[in-house]
């Protein structure tokens, strides 16, 4: 699946002028509110007409203002999960779920009802009306409804924004499963670094109607300065680890990656299980000597690949740890004191690891 978007649009004082291309499983449109994220997905879904531009999925043109092409929303087969769920209040959950099914030619239906119900854990809700659902349940049903309609692409516009942290935590695993198991790419709008870091395979960073960066999630998350505004210190690196064994003596779970052995809190994994982790740049300390007498066990030798100045007085240090890319955020003062330079050998001391189940 590939998505090509090039748009120019004017709404009052706000000018949108963007172009990006993504072939990822889950492409996050990321940026502060007012950066144009929702307008872009509305144009992809056909709810808004761009003044100028072209949108195509897999070479199928949805909009091209040059030759007047504009496919109406019901012909696009693009699912849309709205921030406010928008379930039909007069229909039961079951009727909501199957609503879009009948409009899809039989041969093109891939969204299986019982599979989807199980994936989203909504089997016990089927006979209820939307008014009797919690916010989290509603959002899961909305995701299911979009999926069962067998779209070519699913748009999600801040589907978690109206939920509290507990409800968010309830839904995130379902979106991850959707990303990993369903045969449909997702475009996901968010202004939360935590969500994007956890979910995205690709990221398009938007700032005041323009693309300020676009590419694979790992690269974008490492380039902290590209993340607009106050959330800059939330950036970091994402790695994939393989479970090795549960260490009987320490009680810790041992995972392996190219960088070495990771000691993480005990967990119920089987050997060979893959997990992804997120390490915030501000959670990594650097040492020029192999550190002794410290509490953390997660220390990895590496080589400095790049040094990048960052706001306000910081330095981003990209490390190659035997093939794993880690980015550390230290102060410029420390960088100068330690005389860090490209190619130098250092040790990365990882204070905290966020484990993302997958």
């Amino acid at each position: 699946m590939s998505l090509d978007v090039a748009l120019r649009h004017q709404m009052g004082d706000f000018a949108l002028d963007i172009a990006f291309r993504s072939a990822g499983r889950l492409t996050a449109l990321f940026g502060p509110s007012g950066s144009g994220k929702t307008s872009i997905v509305n144009m992809i879904g056909g709810l808004m007409r761009p003044r100028e531009g072209r949108i195509a999925t897999d070479g199928r043109v949805l909009v091209d203002t040059q030759n007047g092409t504009f496919l109406r929303p019901h012909k696009r087969r693009i699912g849309y999960v709205f921030q406010d769920a928008r379930l039909f209040p007069h229909l039961t959950v079951r009727q909501n779920l199957v609503y879009g099914r009948r409009f899809v030619p039989r041969a093109q239906r891939y969204g299986d009802f019982s599979e989807t119900v199980e994936l989203l854990g909504i089997g016990h809700l089927l006979e209820r009306k939307p008014a009797k659902l919690s916010g989290g349940e509603r959002q899961r049903v909305a995701i299911g409804r979009a999926l069962i309609a067998s779209p070519r692409l699913i748009l999600m516009d801040e589907p978690l924004a109206s939920l509290d942290d507990a409800r968010k935590a309830e839904i995130l695993p379902f979106i991850e499963r959707l990303r990993d198991e369903a045969r449909v790419p997702v475009v996901y709008v968010s202004h939360s670094v935590a969500e994007v870091a956890r979910l995205a395979s690709d990221i398009v960073v938007l700032d005041r109607g323009r693309v300020s960066a676009a590419g694979p999630a790992r690269e974008i998350l490492a380039g902290l300065d590209l993340l607009p505004g106050a959330e800059g210190d939330e950036g970091g690196s994402r790695l994939r680890l393989e479970f090795d064994r549960l260490d009987a003596r320490s009680g810790l779970s041992l995972f392996r990656s190219a960088a070495g052995i990771w000691h993480l809190p005990p967990s119920a994994h089987r050997p060979g299980d893959q997990v992804s982790i997120f390490v915030r740049a501000s959670d990594i300390l650097l040492a020029t000597q192999p550190p002794e007498g410290i509490s953390t066990l997660n220390v990895f030798p590496g080589r400095i690949v790049a040094l990048r100045p960052a706001r306000p007085h910081d330095l981003l240090v990209d490390l190659d740890c035997n093939g794993d890319l880690l980015t550390a955020r230290i102060t410029r003062h420390s960088g100068a004191r330690m005389a860090l330079a490209s190619g130098a050998s250092v040790h990365a001391i990882v204070k905290t690891v966020r484990l993302k189940e997958s």
């Binding site: 039909f88 409009f103 309609a149």
Partner: protein
């Protein structure tokens, strides 16, 4: 209680009224929904004009509406000739004309109630149905219409009651022929014009009140049942 029992002529007037009002309501309902939807959701040139024409019978003297109907739908009228040759349908001095007059007079009330309830349906739900692949006509039938149902019921019953009580336009257009165009109000009017007609007028008046009350209660009950179904289980 002897004076309460209806004569055959009076029964005929009551039955005819219900028959005429039912036809007036049922036949105009599809048009009422269409016009209400157009006024609520579409923007097109001449929208204000359409709105004005629909509401005109509400403000015009009923006699004027009746006279205009006579000119247009009489046997010599352009529309009257058209319907007679194409559908074999005659309006002048027939019960069908009474139904037409009732439908025209009740139309503004019907459209108003349905329009308000369509406007209350969240367009975001219609958008959502579109992204699920539903053609706009299907969206209307499966989302807009069911959600607007309470208003449609209210509009229908209001229109029925209004058609049932229509007098001025009816008597001008199709006169006051017992058994053909003499509806309840015309019959009451006739009673008041003859000596000793007071008891008959009173009997029919009570029936008119009973029918109107029953219509109002029915609309309340139906609307409540629909909204309960919406929030239910």
């Amino acid at each position: 209680m002897e004076w309460l029992s209806l004569s055959d002529d009076e029964w005929t007037a009551v039955r005819l009224s219900i028959w005429v009002a039912s036809w007036a309501t049922v036949a105009s309902l599809p048009f009422g929904i269409l016009v209400a939807h157009a006024l609520a959701r579409w923007s097109f040139p001449g929208k204000a004009l359409l709105n004005g024409i629909v509401h005109l019978p509400l403000i015009l003297p009923p006699v004027v509406t009746g006279y205009l109907l006579l000119l247009a739908f009489g046997r010599r009228g352009p529309l009257g000739q058209f319907f007679e040759t194409v559908f074999g349908l005659v309006f002048s001095f027939r019960w069908t004309g009474a139904a037409l007059a009732g439908a025209i007079m009740a139309f503004p009330l019907m459209v108003r109630a349905i329009r308000l309830s369509i406007e209350a349906v969240d367009p975001k739900l219609e958008q959502a149905a579109g992204t699920l692949g539903a053609h706009p006509a299907v969206v209307f039938a499966t989302v807009t219409l069911p959600l607007a149902l309470p208003g449609i019921i209210a509009g229908t019953i209001l229109a029925f009651a209004k058609a049932m009580g229509e007098f001025g336009a009816t008597i001008t257009f199709v006169s006051n022929i017992p058994g053909e165009t003499q509806t309840l109000p015309s019959a009451i009017y006739t009673f008041t014009q003859v000596p000793g007609g007071g008891a008959g007028a009173m009997r029919l008046t009570l029936i008119a009140i009973a029918v109107a009350m029953a219509a109002l209660i029915a609309s309340e009950v139906l609307a409540r049942r629909v909204s309960r179904r919406m929030e239910g289980a």
